[in-house]
Amino acid sequence: MALNGIQIFKLTPKKNCKECGCPTCMAFSMKVAQGAMKIEQCPHMSEDAIASLSEATAPPMKTIKIGTGDGEFTLGGETVLFRHEKTFVSKTRYAVALCTCMDDAAVDAKIKEIPKVDYERIGERMYAELVYVNCSEDADAAKYTALVEKAAGIGRTLVLGCTDPEIAKAALAVCKDSKPVLNGANASNYEAMNAVAAEAGVVLGVSGKDINELYDTVAALEKLGNKNLVLDVTGADLKETFANAVLVRRAALKDQDRTFGYPSIVNTVKIAKGDVHMQAALASLFTMKYGSIIVMEQMTYAEALPLYGLRQNVFTDPQKPMKVEPGIYPLNGADENSLVVTTVDFALTYFVVSGELERSGVPLNLVINDAGGLSVLTSWAAGKFSGNSISKFIIENVEPKVKCRKLLIPGKVAVLKGDLEAKLPGWEIIVGPREAVQLVKFLKDMQA
């Protein structure tokens, strides 16, 4: 339970020695309560007080790291249930599932398919970050290890779905250096699985036949000293899985129940096997509500394009708008003689405007320069989308590359026309419509 300033003050030496940089112990306590300072910054705090305080002031949900190098991902560490309350910090990661129950041809096809989806969207690389390797009940260590080795060949971080400690141990022997997740602890095997995970130094995934068993198993693992966990909240059906995902996260963040303060795994393959459309719906649902790792049968462009866009939106910090990289974006097969259009770098504006421009079918060079990630009127008011900034970018970046000397500006900043004409000699400045939806008609009329 988080402590308030007064409760923290009671634990301080109350000397007002100022060594921490605060004028009084009371002021220091208030800062600690707000999270602005750490309790360790007081040199006179007793060991006991620090221990009880760091327990109380620890974040409600642990941050768990999996993978290594480029494949290292941070899960959890969330502090709010709704993004508008602050922000979500650790993106949902998606895993494509392989299973020992699949035949070789199916496995090979999947392994060939996974790397095909790999693209960039607003500065972010989009690809299936994880591969889930499931060990079906009838598989032995040799078969499973062979599949794990094959999967490791794609170079993605692995999640091993295996409940047999001996098989898991064999599989980890070939892949533990890449820090996979071992998802396999449950009420009946947690002691053995804990030993295997601890020895290999990997994150352990825990599941239970219901939420109570999951809770008890996590508590038992914590007692054994393992706090490097993820919780597989997948239940018998969708309804139970959704309830588990929400209840686990809510218990941790709203009710400060630290036993559930871990990231989650949702396995859509278990609850919607063979139904890729349902898995698509569930991937979206659990991206919205509290899935840290989501396992799916496939990640083709059909799933990736909407899902990664959704994730990028949901995990945007509300205080920091998404920005598009400045540059010249040729649309509809534009060349150096095509009309130049400009707008701001605010991602939402860019998408709406570029979407309409593409719909018009008219070849255009869309020029984006740094406008602080704000909308047209806001950035204009802030002086970030001005005659100076636009003309400077055009002269430095556009004139060497584009021969056309016609520039279309947003109707909302029609006031910039005169200024731009003065600063861009030889250019014809055209004032466009005020709203993006009018662009198609405007461009068609212009061509006519």
Binding site: F82, R83, H84, K116, R121, I211, N212, L214, Y215, D216, A219, D237, L238, K239, F242, A243, V246, L247, R250, A251, K254, D255, D257, T259, F260, D275, H277, M278, A280, A281, L282, A283, S284, L285, T287, M288, T300, Y301, A302, E303, L305, P306, L307, Y308, G309, L310, Q312, N313, V314, T316, P318, A347, L348, F351, V352, G355, E358, R359, Q438, K441
Partner: protein, 313 residues
Amino acid sequence: MPFNQKPQKFNAKINTVTIGSGDKTVALGGNSTFPFYSFDAPTENTAKVGVEITDMGLEGVSEGIKAYYEGATTMADIAKKAAAMEGADFVALVLEGGDPNGENKSVDELIAIVKEVADAVDCPLVVEGCKNVEKDAELLPKVAEVLQGRNVLILAEKEENYKAIGAAAGLAYNQIVGAESAVDINLAKQLNVVTTQLGVNAQKIVMNIGSACAGYGYEYVVSTMDRIKGAALGQNDNMLQMPIITPVASETWGVKEASASEADMPEWGPQDERGIDMEIMTAAADLAAGSDAVILRHPQSVATISKMIKALA
């Protein structure tokens, strides 16, 4: 120590608004929990799925949709097939041909289509305008008039034309008023306030708080819906307790991820599949954030989303 499950109880609920007449009606809203949180309190009404058809017939729709409607030549045929779609709760007719910047069909022409569709099906109906505020102010009151007794949802009045549309639909012809705002909790509330000030019963309003396609500024949709449901339930704000309907198809099928042909983007794969998943994923996210009804186009999307809703109930 066992897990102590603490339910989140609210002493408020979303209004229940019924659309349709006779035996075939659907109830939107009515719940006192966040979407799908049936572990907190029983679900009063599950979310509903509508099938979008337009006065433009099958022009421009994807292959899979065309295949579903094969053989349908008139608007009546199309409407019947839409109503029969697996998982469909209602049919939403969009009068997009009325747009003065598009086909610019006359009001009389559109009203004839409205009548044809309404006569063909007895399921609950939603009628959407063409989004042009002046044209809708002229068109939608006429729609409300000719569909008297059908208890249809008229989508939608906006800040600029709420007087004409809200008064006609909500007062003169006793239909359900759809109130559309632009992804902002304050604008949504403001429109509800002025609409009720006209005399429209708050229990007869359904909100479209604005929508976006996943990936296209969708974070605003999430946060607006989260905040509206939070205020409606947590603060008992009765000017935000109207159920939310979200037209999904009209947002998702237009973006390039869904509309680019396979010939243009070979690595992206079949267009129909991309369109379906864009529609499904956006709809699932809308429902998770707080939509009480979604409007979809593809039979696969309708079937999948409806199945998901039922599995979560």
